[in-house]
Amino acid sequence: MTQERPEPTRRALLAGLAGLALPAVPGARALAAGPASVATRPIPASGERIPVIGMGTSRTFNVGDDPGLRDARTEVLRVFFEAGGGMIDSSPMYGSSEAVIGYGLERLGMQETLFSATKVWIRSQAEGVEQMAESRRLWGLPRFDLMQIHNLVSWERHLETLRRDKAEGRARYIGITTSHGRRHRELEEIMAREPLDFVQLSYNVLDREVERRLLPLAAERGIAVIVNRPFRRGALFERIGDAPLPGWAAEVDCENWAQILLKFILSHPAVTCAIPATRQVAHMRENMGAQIGRMPDESLRKRMAAAVEAL
């Protein structure tokens, strides 16, 4: 079943209307002040800094040709960039998502902070080259900031292409992805021996297996980490329901559960950015608030995990 996230509170909505209100917590105040104060993390391979909250587009941006839905997603993009958003991650696997991103970027104009990330998802190496060219066309970009190999599909062959593309300027960084917690052993072997700029994996307050080997290995090898499924595709919100925010939420400038869940992820030192997906402007504002204000320390991380586990 489709998991729904609760509608934001009136207070959160008001806080999200940047500049129209002066909310009571530092996170929202900073968001209202504009994107200059958002948290960024360096990409270990270059030192270039990117905002810690990006945006996933699986499902949420796969709206086909419907003009109304495309315009609604463009509005989500607009709010994302207004709040200082950087990385947008997609894949040819996500149906029309890349075309819808391209539609939005064309209407909004190319954004300075955009960090474009997509994937190659096909078995054949030759067809992979064509697929990546098609992705550039759909996004309306001459090159991608990051090109990844989707779920390790034909990774040895595509890695050859990606290295060549990086050398020839069709991609600035290269990486490899996994999701759902699958094929971690194989990913670990690849990370240990192949030069990669990025890896993408699933990590959230309840699915923490990557803390044991993959995240430490990424830190050791200087590989940037993108975290997908930070909300378990919405299932965490179903679990949380209408549980009140814990008292300690204010200690890390969190106004809602989305920000608690995201700050838990971002407070791991090996994580570079998280890419929550949403189709709603209000949820985008909540998500973007997680890149503002204080981050939890180890002791608070434990309390966060315990609080969600107890629900």
Binding site: R59, N62, V63, G64, D65, G68, L69, G95, R279
Partner: protein
């Protein structure tokens, strides 16, 4: 895992039906004609019904899956070609060989047991007449409704109903894809929260049971 959301599917279905209007009325009339032939078999009726079903499956494969759904679902081309293949099978067995069920020239309905005819007629009538209003009553907005001959679920159940009422081993060959789609369609409906399509697996299993039970009778 489904990579599109309920509202996107319904929007696509609505625009698809809008673009095809009034083909829905023609599909309804042709479906009623097929039901009439099931109820009161006529000479040559098998071939006509087989031709109708073949066109319906090929249209759903090409028009719905390959043309519409492929933009949001990477699995749609696979489903599309499967539906086209099913249409070709129906054309081959029913139209060219004149054997929708068993022996050449066998009549729909009259050649199976009365119980099988009733079950088959019930399934086909459900697909043709009940599925669209049921979907509307359960919250799918007009025109995002299932239609025999244009959308996969109603087409699969309708076809299964006619096959249950036919006779012979060829029914199993022709019923495989409709039954498989009923099961898969039920899963997709559950994932997308479309309660009107929840009966699909039940229809598939009922059709399977009816095929099995009537298949044991001497031909």
């Amino acid at each position: 895992m489904i990579l599109y959301e309920r509202e996107v599917y319904l929007s696509l279905l609505a625009r698809y039906n809008e673009a095809l209007w009034p083909a829905q009325l023609l599909a309804l009339l042709l479906g009623l004609l097929a039901l009439g032939l099931l109820w009161r078999p006529r000479r040559g009726g098998d071939r006509l019904v087989a031709a109708l079903l073949a066109v319906a499956w090929i249209w759903v494969g090409a028009g719905f899956f390959l043309r519409q759904m492929a933009s949001i679902d990477y699995a749609a081309p696979l489903f599309g070609w499967l539906f086209v293949l099913q249409g070709l099978l129906l054309a081959w067995r029913g139209l060219l060989a004149g054997r929708l069920g068993g022996k050449p020239g066998c009549k729909l309905g009259g050649s199976a047991s009365p119980a099988a005819t009733r079950i088959g007629l019930g399934l086909a009538a459900f697909a043709l007449l009940a599925m669209p209003p049921l979907a509307w009553l359960l919250g799918q907005p007009w025109p995002a409704l299932p239609v025999f001959g244009l959308t996969p679920g109603a087409t699969a159940v309708f076809t299964l109903g006619l096959l249950v009422a036919a006779r012979g081993r060829a029914r199993w060959l022709l019923a495989a894809v409709p039954i498989a789609w009923c099961l898969l369609g039920g899963f997709l409906a559950w994932e997308l929260a479309l309660p009107a399509a929840y009966p699909l697996p039940l229809a598939g299993l009922l059709g399977l049971a009816a095929l099995f039970l009537t298949g044991r009778r001497p031909a």
